[in-house]
């Protein structure tokens, strides 16, 4: 016995790695004992007790290795394997554990689920915004909805859905929020603190948070509600949720609600709620006769026992007495409002492009001549000013022009400048230049033009607060941190004084503007008690699913700018490559909002997954389908002879002759053209047929049964490759073979199946997916499994000439596609189970007849939605080319409809040699298909995707939303009947199938 003990300083390995190393070493031949662990006293004791001598230098941060081997050789091997294991760990750290690149999530909901996000930032055009917002809400994710032009009815619907899911919708038209330290949209980098803000206004919230910062305080969270939330119609839905969440938040001690005047009923309800919650709230509602935002912040500070500072400002001296009108040029609408509210007391109603009630409306674009010589306040962020240009906080050029042109007329120029994330990276120099120019233009006419600027910013803002303030000051402006302060100063310069909002005025008015809503002395205790109760009595769940206490994980659509700002703040953010959905947005919205949809889809999918498929018998179509003489079935949606393509015509003519209904092919075609026979889709009889898929009464059919739902589906027998009926060939060779299949193949197989009992085809599918076959163009494994299972019974069944049995075995074994005709009806059974669920958007059929591509959807029953069949894109046999290929034909797309074929390409990467593409493409295709399907099949697993199930249940709405069409792998038939297969490739259904289907579903919504 030999020992080896080593102390490795500072060799930290995580416990999983350490386990692996230990096991490797212990497994070495000849090693009888191996103790590997950190040098804590207890571990060292253990080693001593085992008889190892360990150096006293070993400490808890050191890795200690103690090996005991039978002899020196074993020990040396043990040390070698230890070194190998340890260096393997080290090198693992030096390259990223990169798996094959995953397909990006294509919808908000999918991205939320993947990233486990708790906040979605959505800024897509207003008509689409509700459906994406709903997608996030259904994935239990709160939403910051930056989009505007969302109608009020949609807003109410969304907020109700959000309340039901216990998530928050901030918006619409919400551009400012701070959640758990992450600044979202236009927000300032303020310090964390004890004030929570609920804001129906972005710049209003920014003013409040910057003042709090200047007072040495900070914000816990700033939750936006959207500008209309406090209206009667929306009823303060988001505000109520925000208040509840802030009341329960441990770090929030006081809440400030910033808004324009709210509907009195809504306000009363919210105040009652606040009393119940016991959280101190200051209502900073801006409006005529109400205190300005600065006053409100001062009140909040006082009631929270905080210090009210002298609000920072930097004046230009001497401040000359001005003569002339007040000209306010604002970027922030709320700041403009505040200016008008304050100034109206002294100057009367102020003309504006966003006038207060009773004030004249003017256009923001008006030149000063037209605008008159009077006072004016213009909001450069109003809709009329931002047509075809970015918001002035980002693109200041319009306002800069106006500053200069006001030089001649203005008595005092009043401006705001809002800093923070999302705003122009360094606006001060340009504004300073404009101010300088304006002032020097004014001084040329012998007068001084005072300029007053309110800078809404915090010390941590990217633009640099100090730099901004000093740049403006150097240009001759007086700079204020309080917008209200700036307005008062401007009025003073005009010789006007207005009572300073607070004290006197609020004394006259009843309490509503400041709510110390729980009894005063217990105010603070109430706050901490409720904060305590909020956490200790976590009761059922944290409000808003813990949005305010969890790390923000964000998904963004349509706002690269904001996503970048979030990444800059080290917030994990995933951008969704959003694109407008296909088809009619209104129809899609209705279908997505259908309350039946989620459950209907779950039901349909559940049935699809549960459906079984057993081959129970073979019988002629006349028996099992009741197909009458003169009746023929074909692949794809309904089709008339006139529109049928070459292969289809050839197949039909051949079938007519086969049934003895015509002596020659010409006669057959003539009769078909004359409408002497009945044609119907295979699908109308729960049947499927590959390629032309023609079924006639005397053809033998596979009969498959789903024991779970008691459905039956049928399929013809596969003729093989080359000149075959399904490719439109119809010569004597074809007809002879068909006769043999009718006389020998069918009956032999029927007898074997009868003797064997039901053959489990669903089990074949599970196995083939793990054997490199996808069930549409690769079916060899299932064919051989079938042959293996039935051969003994074919031989033993008796009643047939052994030569015939041998021929049957040879025939089946020689045709790698034989099992296609088993996989197809098995897939048909899966989709049959999902049929006819009202409100379900699951696709139950995809089929082509060589001219049209048709789909059927669960919620619309047997209705077909069609578009032109496409020509596949792929690889050609021999000297064939694209001009030789017929448009897409066959019911074999039923395999893709049930998760096989192109959907299972990742399980069969070899197929790329047949259809084109490369192996990564095969993997990405399956991954992409997960984006348009409702679920995965737990039984049919794809090994390389770590046994993830095949994508099941195509959702028509997902197809439209993502623009991703189902991927089909298909053989290509020659245009000319009888040529046979010309190649194989990749093809998609036309988008109109899905847009039409969703239109029809929308009509069926209540």
């Amino acid at each position: 016995m030999s020992d080896f003990v080593e102390v490795r300083s500072g060799a930290y390995f995580d416990s999983v790695s350490l386990m692996q190393v230990s096991q490797t070493v212990k497994g070495t031949v000849g090693i009888s004992d191996a103790l590997i662990g950190m040098g804590t006293p207890l571990n060292l004791e253990l080693m001593s007790a085992t008889g190892f001598t360990v150096s006293a230098q070993a400490g808890p941060n050191d890795l200690v290795v103690a090996l005991r081997g039978e002899d020196e050789v074993a020990l040396s091997n043990g040390r070698d394997s230890l070194d190998a294991a340890l260096s393997a760990l080290r090198s693992a750290a030096s390259h990223s554990a990169d798996l094959t690149a995953a397909s990006p999530a294509l919808t908000i909901g999918s991205a939320v689920r993947r990233a486990e996000a708790n906040l979605a930032v959505i800024s897509v055009p207003g008509e689409y915004a509700p459906m994406d917002t709903l997608d996030a809400i259904r994935a239990a994710c709160s939403v910051m909805l930056f989009s505007d032009n969302v109608d009020i009815a949609a807003e109410v619907e969304l907020k109700d859905a959000a309340a039901a899911a216990d998530v928050l919708v901030m918006g619409p038209d919400c551009g400012t929020a701070i959640v758990n330290g992450a600044a979202l949209g236009f927000a300032n980098q303020v310090r964390g603190g004890r004030f929570g803000v609920v804001a129906a206004s972005g710049t209003g919230a920014q003013q409040v948070m910057c003042l709090l910062e200047a007072a040495g305080e900070g914000v816990s969270h700033v939750l936006g509600t959207g500008g209309r939330d406090l209206s009667a119609e929306v009823g303060g839905r988001s505000a109520a949720q925000a208040l509840k969440a802030l009341a329960a938040d441990e770090s929030t001690e006081h809440v400030i609600v910033v808004s324009k005047p709210a509907d009195p009923g809504v306000l009363a309800d919210l105040k009652a709620l606040v009393t119940e919650l016991g959280v101190p709230v200051t209502w900073a509602a801006l409006g005529p006769g109400l205190p300005d935002l600065t006053t409100a912040v001062e009140e909040a500070l006082r009631s929270a026992a905080g210090a009210v500072p002298e609000w920072p400002r930097k004046l230009t001296h001497p401040a000359a007495r001005a003569s002339g009108p007040l000209r306010g040029l604002f970027c922030g609408g709320t700041l403009a409002d505040e200016a008008m509210v304050i100034a109206a007391d002294a100057l009367g109603p102020i003309p504006s492009n966003i006038p207060l009630a009773g004030a004249p409306q003017i256009s923001g674009q008006a030149r000063d001549e037209a605008g008159g010589a009077g006072h004016q306040v213009i909001d450069f962020g109003a809709d009329e000013m931002t047509q075809g240009r970015a918001h002035p906080m980002i693109d200041p050029s319009l306002r800069l022009e106006r500053i200069r042109s006001e030089a001649r007329t203005a008595g005092v120029l009043l401006l705001d400048l809002v800093l923070g994330y999302g705003s122009h990276p360094d606006p001060a120099p340009d504004v300073a230049d404009a101010i300088r120019d304006a002032r020097s233009l004014a001084s040329e006419t012998g007068r001084e033009l005072p300029v007053v600027v309110s800078v809404i910013g915090a010390a941590g803002d990217p633009q640099g607060l100090e730099h901004t303030v000093s740049t403006l000051h150097a240009a001759g402006a007086s700079v204020f941190s309080s917008n209200a302060g700036a307005v008062h100063h401007a009025l003073e310069l005009l010789g006007q004084r207005v009572a300073n909002g607070s004290g006197e005025q609020s004394a006259e008015r009843p309490a509503p503007s400041t709510g110390q809503t729980s009894g005063d002395p217990s105010g603070e205790v109430a706050a901490s008690e409720s904060a305590g109760a909020g956490s200790a009595g976590v009761v059922d769940e944290l409000p808003l699913r813990g949005l305010l206490t969890t790390e923000p994980v964000v998904v963004a659509a349509g706002v690269s700018l904001f996503a970048e700002a979030l990444a800059e703040q080290a917030v994990p953010v995933t951008e969704v490559p959003w694109q407008p959905p296909l088809g009619d947005a209104a129809a899609l919205r209705r279908v997505l909002a259908d309350p039946r949809r989620t459950e209907a889809n779950a039901t349909a999918l559940g049935r699809m997954l549960a459906a079984g498929a057993e081959l129970v018998a073979l019988r002629p179509a006349s028996e099992c389908l009741g197909l009458q003489r003169g009746e023929f079935l074909h692949a794809g949606p309904p089709l008339g002879w006139e529109r049928a393509s070459g292969p289809m015509r050839g197949a039909l003519a051949g079938a007519v002759v086969f049934e003895g209904l015509a002596e020659s092919l010409d006669e057959a075609e003539a009769k078909l053209a004359a409408g002497k026979f009945t044609l119907a889709p295979c699908h109308s009889r729960d049947t499927v047929g590959p390629m032309a898929g023609v079924v006639s009464p005397s053809m033998w059919m596979f009969e498959l049964r789903d024991p779970v739902h008691d459905n039956t589906a049928y399929c013809s027998l596969n003729e093989g490759l080359g000149k075959v009926l399904r490719y439109g060939a119809n010569n004597d060779e074809v007809l002879t073979r068909l006769q043999w299949m009718r006389e020998i193949l069918g009956p032999v197989l029927a007898a074997a199946v009868g003797a064997h009992g039901p053959v489990d085809i669903k089990a074949y599918i599970s196995q083939m997916v793990q054997m490199g076959d996808e069930g549409h163009n690769r079916n060899r494994s299932a064919t051989l499994m079938f042959l293996r299972d039935l051969t003994p019974y074919m031989v033993a069944a008796g009643g047939h000439d052994p030569k015939d049995v041998a021929e049957v075995c040879r025939f089946v074994g020689a045709n790698d596609h034989f099992a296609l005709n088993l996989v197809m009806p098995a897939c048909k059974l899966a989709t049959l189970a999902a049929k006819d669920v009202p409100g379900s958007t699951l696709v139950t059929t995809m089929a082509r007849n060589g001219t049209d591509f048709g789909i059927q959807v669960s919620g619309t029953g047997d209705a077909w939605f069609t578009g032109p069949a496409q020509v596949a894109d792929g690889l050609f046999l021999g000297s064939f080319g694209p001009e030789d290929a017929n448009p897409d034909i066959g019911d074999s797309a039923i395999t893709e409809t049930a998760g096989m074929g192109g959907f299972a390409m990742a399980a069969a990467p070899a197929i790329v040699r047949l259809v084109g593409g490369d192996v990564p493409f095969a993997l990405q295709t399956t991954r992409r298909m997960y984006e348009i399907t409702l679920g995965e099949h737990p039984m049919h697993q794809i090994p390389i995707l770590e046994f993830r199930g095949i994508p099941m249940g195509i959702d028509a709405t997902q197809v439209l939303r993502t623009g991703v069409l189902p991927q089909i792998n298909t053989g290509m038939a020659g245009r000319v009947a009888g040529v046979g297969q010309v190649g194989a490739g990749l093809v998609n259904p036309p988008a109109e199938c899905f847009t039409e289907a969703v239109q029809a579903l929308a009509e069926r919504c209540q």
Partner: protein
Amino acid sequence: MHPAAASTLAPDWLHRTWEATVLAALPRAVYLHAGAWTDVLCILDADALRLPNSVLVPSVGIGRGEPLALGLRAGDRVKVDAGRIDLPSGVVECRRTFRPAAIALGVGLGIDPTALGELAQRLKPGLPGMTAAAHEVVAAASEVAATSEVATEDMAGAAGVIAAEDKAATAGELELRRLIGELVGCGPGLTPTGDDVLAGVLLGLRAAGLVRAAAALADAIAARLRKTTSLSAALLQAAAGGWCIPEVRDACFSLRAGNPDDSFALLSRIGHSSGHDLATGFLAVLPQNPQLGAHTHLHPGALLAEAINLTTHTNERTLHV
């Protein structure tokens, strides 16, 4: 350059100019150490477990960016300067502060004992005898709390207690210390099994609102932090303040919602056996409290009658860039 978020529990030296030593260079993380035994800072990428004493770098992860540990070995020195960390793979710059996941006081109240029992049965601690050891610790800590005259009423102070000097010990305290002595540093891993069990007990006591017992336990552990790895000591210290990783907090919520299966899945994600060890400690507390159970309607305030005033702003440091 990688934007990063620093936890409020990051050691002070992150915000000053300092040189730290690399404790570990792992595929998903880099652990740095400087100064006091427990001053460990974990620099984590997007896919690492979110330890509470950490800096998170979301722009690096599986399939994205160079690993944080590129070019680093244990023992290397790394420059830290006011929130900027100079790694060979790039500069990590702290832009934001975050508060780590925590077990809220009293969150364990009202959890259905059936769910607790189901989870307990499935746990596989890293060493034998841990369940019994955990129960002994809980009993000893409760006894010290009940008999001790020095009641620690300030939960935030419990973390501060860790730095406190040894007081003259009562018999109960001695017994508690003896039990702790057999657990701290017990087990081969980076976070030894014994430590994880104790962390679980600390979190469990907090979940049950048993603040005094938690403080007594924290006190006893404080004296022994040098007997285990720096990382584990730092995590124990965090656990005394109720801080944990999100999986542990979420596992607790799953129990509250009656989903022991979800809890189990979450806990199994944590290290080799750490999750199970933590849960073993945690569960040793909850079913024992006779006042807890599905049918209790006790006002949470009754159990918190020891007048806990949660001042969550102490010991926090908000980054102001």
